[in-house]
């Protein structure tokens, strides 16, 4: 079922040489090919094992981590993948016949059904016993207590309302029972079935309550064991695990220390099982269950902060070893319609796993409170896989040999499995094709090659040297506040910039031959596929990351940046040989030219008119008319504009002036008129250049009016 269970594969193979102490479960029962020939000394094997770990440990850890994350916060569902279509139990047959008008009717009908279902059935729990391995066999401790008190709570997780920070949780106590501690499962269980404590959760509890919409129901088992010597558990684990690293030793010590600090009172173990998930699907069918219990630490972890991050070192926590190691609770679950019917409580058969000593390398269960979430999840997964197995078609005997190649493909180790579960993420692929496809697409840090085998299939596993481990996600996420790693709390929406491109390539018929080692084009296959928009842009002016929404705007427009305007103004301000009015006109004019980017002489007529148009109000307001006229005339002196332009520009100003003066009275206008006269008169005096001949003016103006190009050429020539 899971890669941790070596017993399924270990027996059929040359026995490993016990060096697997440090390895995690997957490689436990590996056999060195060379080792079969002679009896090599331990050192060689150790070295070989080191090489093996060096090659495969890191990617395996990463995939383990991703597996757990995908259980908690799935990014996609396997059943939606084409090659996993057999996992999809839904079909679209009804889709054709469905009508929108029927939707409400359907929903109402469905609700009615659900209610009747929940109304008719009560949940009956019959507890077989609470099992906790102690250092000593339980019969020695006759005088110790032989029962623990169990409290069963029904936890209702309600729908989050807008104002709520997190989902409101209601805990409904359903009862307290004394459950036998470590009952002798081998003898006389059947005889005493009637005496087992039993609990009934009435069906009313599963009905929707009015205040909150309940999202999911789960059972919370709380076992309190009075005076349980905690150190015993740790002591046992410590004793068994001789070659455990000192790190774990330290953890044990720490635990011991902390436990000694606490008063020798009750020890509480908790476990949680989902009854109805958030889609109101029944998760617990009738049957026998064994639940792994977790010791409750005194500091309950805030659910918000208990993310998957902390489970990282979960490799020392194989979920199934907790069943053979940790405290477990066995019970039988039944959905009954009759609440009084207790005598027919189903017979609890002893579970086989309980007392069968496996020769597994048991690890100290260094569980902390933060692990509980993971344990719960794996528990759920366990339940699911258990169900899956029941539902799956009768398994054909198919043996998969995983051949791990490492050290430049000079060495290899083989492990065999009898099922089609992915060894890294325990996903049941059910078909060889699906398994191979899954391995290739989901575990691209490795290269998988399929080799047909008389007994089943051989898969060569080697490290993908071409794997591109760089960040393939959305670069926007890195820059979002407060950082993607902290904010990710479940699936997140992609940014708006990501467009969905629909590509429908011609699908080849599924064939195992596509996994055979190909001679050419190997590189192509090993490359990871990256899709989506993975580029991040930055604002050119402040180096801040550009949001996708801002992409349409150009922050790089630099024809007249503010600083250049400011600089121009400041520089003109520093002139000492021009008066204030002239400075103002110069500033206005220079900014005007900068803004519109006039560069040629023949643009000057247009530039002047546009200037008069845009800045007339300012010029009039600051009484800069004469300064402007002076400017125009000196431009005329340089053969840049025609007299016609001067006229038009000044006419524009005068129009505005007269409008402005209209309110003030006519005196102003006269005054302005006078100003204008004086400006014209004073012009030759101010002009530092030798006076141009009036006749020349005319010629020039003619020229400019006739053809601007000629004028420009002439200017360049002179």
């Amino acid at each position: 079922m899971a890669p941790h269970k070596q017993s399924s594969s270990g027996g059929s193979h040359p026995v490993g040489f016990g060096s697997g102490g440090k390895a995690n479960g997957l490689y436990q029962s590996s056999s060195a090919v060379m080792a079969a020939a002679k009896k090599p000394n331990m050192q060689l094997i150790q070295a070989d094992h080191e090489l093996f770990l060096q090659a495969f440990e890191k990617p395996t850890q990463i995939y383990r981590f991703l597996r757990t994350r995908n259980l908690i916060a799935p990014i996609f569902l396997h059943r939606t993948l084409t090659y996993m279509s057999h996992r999809n139990s839904r079909n679209n047959v009804k889709r054709k016949s469905s009508k929108v008008d029927n939707l409400l009717f359907k929903v109402e009908k469905m609700r009615g059904e659900q209610e009747t279902h929940s109304l008719t059935s009560n949940l009956q729990l019959t507890f077989t016993g609470f099992f906790q391995k102690a250092g000593k066999p339980s019969q020695d401790s006759e005088n110790e207590q032989n029962s623990v008190s169990l409290e069963v709570l029904l936890v209702k997780v309600c729908h989050k309302k807008r104002k709520d920070v997190s989902c409101p949780v209601k805990q409904v106590p359903t009862g307290k029972k004394q459950v036998p501690l470590n009952p002798d499962t081998s003898a006389g269980v059947q005889a005493k079935t009637g005496s087992f404590p039993s609990l009934l959760v009435p069906s009313i509890e599963f009905e929707p309550s009015n205040s909150h919409m309940v999202k999911s129901y789960s059972l919370l088992f709380r076992v309190s064991r009075p005076g349980c010597p905690r150190t015993q558990i740790n002591g046992l684990a410590n004793g068994e695990n001789h070659h455990s690293r000192d790190f774990s030793e330290e953890v044990v010590n720490r635990k011991r220390r902390s436990s000694s600090l606490r008063e020798e009172g009750e020890t509480t173990f908790v476990a949680q099982m989902t009854v109805f998930d958030k889609n109101r699907r029944l998760q617990l069918l009738d049957g026998e269950y064994e639940v792994s219990m977790q010791e409750m630490e005194e500091c309950p972890v805030n659910k918000k902060r208990a993310t998957w991050e902390t489970i990282l070192d979960g490799k020392r926590l194989p979920p199934f070893e907790s069943f053979s190691q940790g405290p477990t609770l066995q019970f039988t679950l039944r959905w009954t319609s009759d609440s009084t019917d207790r005598s027919t409580a189903p017979v609890a058969k002893p579970l086989a796993t309980r007392n069968s000593e496996t020769n597994q390398d048991t690890r100290p269960s260094t569980l902390r409170a933060t692990h509980t979430l993971a344990v719960k999840e794996s528990l759920n997964a366990d339940v699911q896989t258990r169900r899956e197995q029941i539902l799956a078609e009768p398994r054909q005997k198919l043996r998969i040999f995983y051949q791990f190649q490492y050290n430049n493909n000079t060495r290899q180790q083989t492990e065999a499995r009898d099922d089609l579960h992915c060894p890294w993420c325990t996903l049941n692929c059910r078909k060889l094709y699906s398994l191979l496809k899954h391995l290739k697409l989901s575990h691209s840090r490795f290269v998988f090659n399929y080799v047909p085998h008389p007994k089943g299939a051989k898969i060569e596993v080697s490290i993908n040297e071409c794997y591109d481990g760089s960040y393939a996600g959305n670069p926007q996420d890195i820059h979002s506040q407060p950082g993607f790693a902290f904010s990710r709390n479940g699936p997140v929406k992609r940014t708006a910039v990501t467009h969905i491109l629909v590509c429908r390539p011609k699908r080849t018929k599924p064939s195992l031959s596509e996994f055979l080692e190909s001679e050419d084009g190997d590189r192509e296959q090993q490359r990871t596929y990256i899709s989506g928009h993975n580029r991040l842009y930055f604002h050119s002016d402040c180096c801040l990351p550009l949001r996708p929404q801002e992409m349409e705007m150009d922050s790089e427009d630099e024809r007249d940046p503010d600083w250049l305007k400011e600089k121009t103004v400041k520089q003109i301000e520093e002139f000492t040989d021009v008066n204030e009015g002239e400075k103002e006109i110069m500033k206005l004019w220079n900014l005007h030219v900068m803004k519109h980017g006039f560069i040629a002489d023949n643009q000057m007529n247009e530039a002047c008119l546009l200037f008069a148009e845009n800045h007339a109000a300012v010029i009039v307001k600051h009484s800069l008319c004469r300064n402007f006229l002076l400017h125009l005339i000196s431009m005329h002196d340089f053969n840049l504009i025609s007299t016609l332009t001067i006229n038009q520009a000044m006419a524009r100003l005068r129009l505005l002036q007269s409008q402005a003066a209209h309110g003030d009275g006519e005196e102003d206008e006269e005054e302005e008129e006078e100003d204008w006269e004086t400006a014209v008169e004073s012009q030759p005096e101010l002009d530092p250049d030798p006076d141009p001949d009036p006749s020349e003016y005319k010629v020039c103006s003619d020229e400019t009016s006739n053809g601007c190009l000629e004028n420009g050429n002439q200017q360049e020539g002179s």
Binding site: Q481, G483, D541, C542, L544, L546, E550, M553, W563, K567
Partner: protein, 412 residues
């Protein structure tokens, strides 16, 4: 490696020289952490509590004068406790000063990037939750804001083109963060709305690394200094800046598709190169006067313009400066040595490169006659980069290049 883990007291030596003060040698963290997992890609990994058994591998031993490969630390008081913080290569460490001279390590944060080298830090508080916040920045030019209550890095700001040399919070607005950088510019951030309010630099800005900056008492202006030997004044009470600050509060990125337009202030409101002839590595306001130092063995007290000129009416092209006084000392001619003043601006402290600590009492009639006290210790012999007073100026913390922290308690 230096191993001054245990608090060793040597009151006898100290007592001989300065009877008024006693000293304590505190522990320090300069060990190389190896907890940076590669999974936390953009995060500051959090580590708290005392971890005495961490292996201490030397990380930064090369501290050639004039180069930055040391830890710089500073503290600020928080609530009723004295909690200070030391930034130290890639590690941010929070300590708490207790009475009786004890210094207790509270928390330590390590950047995930091994190349990070934190240079500076500043305290502020969250205006909503009143949590104290700590901003740190360093060689990578990324500002990180740490909430040490939730033990998380809550914000980070990318944008500076190079290392950040100093961080300062606005004295009246706890959301305005000023950062000065090796990229020749200063930036003003609004950490509530995560906006960049303004960039100070460019055409007439600093022509080399900006090393230090300070807000004046009312937070109306900023004085910055740098490697270009210049000191520049930037007013932020101008209409343009006030509008930008208001705009930064009103900006909501989820409501608009337009980016927040940062002000680019290219022209300082005053600039001078007449005070110092070398890198200006520290500047502080003292009322309307300015204290600044270069690596010339003197802190200069000066003001822009002529003696009678008002600081608020100084023209940008003003070329006069008036030097009012100097605080002389010796053996401090390497750069990146910061002096500090207490909250009440009555004490001024500076360490030199041989571990001597100069403390001036500014509470005298004539600033020229400010009393100078020299604090020395036989064990403290490396350059004291930074000093800091507690709010009631009873404790002085000095941080050395050899990654030791020294605490001086005032006894009168």
């Amino acid at each position: 490696m230096r191993e001054n883990k245990n608090m060793s007291e040597s009151p006898s030596q100290a007592g001989k020289e300065i009877p008024a003060k006693k000293q304590k040698l505190s522990s320090d963290e300069n060990s190389n952490p190896d907890l940076s997992g590669d999974e936390n890609d953009d995060a500051v990994s959090v580590e708290s509590g005392t971890n005495a058994e961490r292996p201490d591998t030397p990380t930064n031993t090369a501290n050639a004068p004039g180069r930055k490969s040391w830890g710089k630390g500073k503290w600020k008081s928080k609530k009723c406790r004295y909690s200070f913080k030391c930034v130290n290569s890639l590690r941010v460490t929070l300590y708490e000063c207790h009475s009786q001279g004890e210094i207790r390590l509270l928390q330590s944060y390590v950047d995930a990037d091994a190349d990070e080298n934190f240079y500076t830090c500043a305290w502020t508080y969250d205006t909503n939750t009143s949590h104290p916040l700590l901003a740190v920045a360093g060689s990578r030019g990324i500002i990180r804001v740490i909430n040490h209550i939730t033990m998380q890095c809550i914000k980070h700001y990318v944008g500076h083109g190079n290392a950040i040399n100093e961080l300062k919070f606005h004295p009246r607005d706890p959301n305005l963060l000023l950062s000065v950088s090796k990229d020749h510019a200063l930036r003003l951030w609004n950490i509530q709305t995560d906006t960049l309010v303004a960039i100070f630099g460019g055409v007439e800005g600093h022509r080399d690394e900006v090393l230090s900056a300070d807000f004046d008492l009312l937070g109306e202006k900023i004085m910055s200094c740098g490697m270009d030997h210049s000191l520049k004044l930037w007013r932020i009470n101008s209409e343009r800046m006030q509008k930008a600050i208001r705009g930064s509060y009103e900006y909501n990125p989820s409501k608009t598709n337009r980016p927040f337009v940062s002000q680019k202030i290219h022209f300082p409101d005053f600039s001078t190169r007449d005070i110092h002839r070398n890198y200006v590595d520290c500047v502080r306001w003292l009322g309307d006067l300015i204290l600044s130092k270069s690596c010339e063995n003197a802190i200069v007290c000066w003001k822009p313009g002529k003696m009678e000129d008002d600081i608020d009416h100084i023209k940008p092209n003003e070329s006069n400066v008036t030097i009012l006084g100097r605080f002389d000392y010796s053996q401090c001619d390497i750069w990146y040595m910061r002096f500090s003043m207490d909250f009440w601006q009555k004490m001024l402290a500076l360490g030199n490169q041989v571990g001597k600590l100069y403390v001036w009492d500014l509470e005298v009639e004539d600033p020229h006659k400010a009393k100078c006290t020299t604090l020395t210790l036989p064990k403290c012999t490396s350059a004291i980069r930074q000093t800091s007073f507690s709010r009631d100026s009873s404790i002085l913390i000095a941080v050395c290049d050899d990654a030791s922290i020294w605490r001086w308690d005032r006894q009168r």
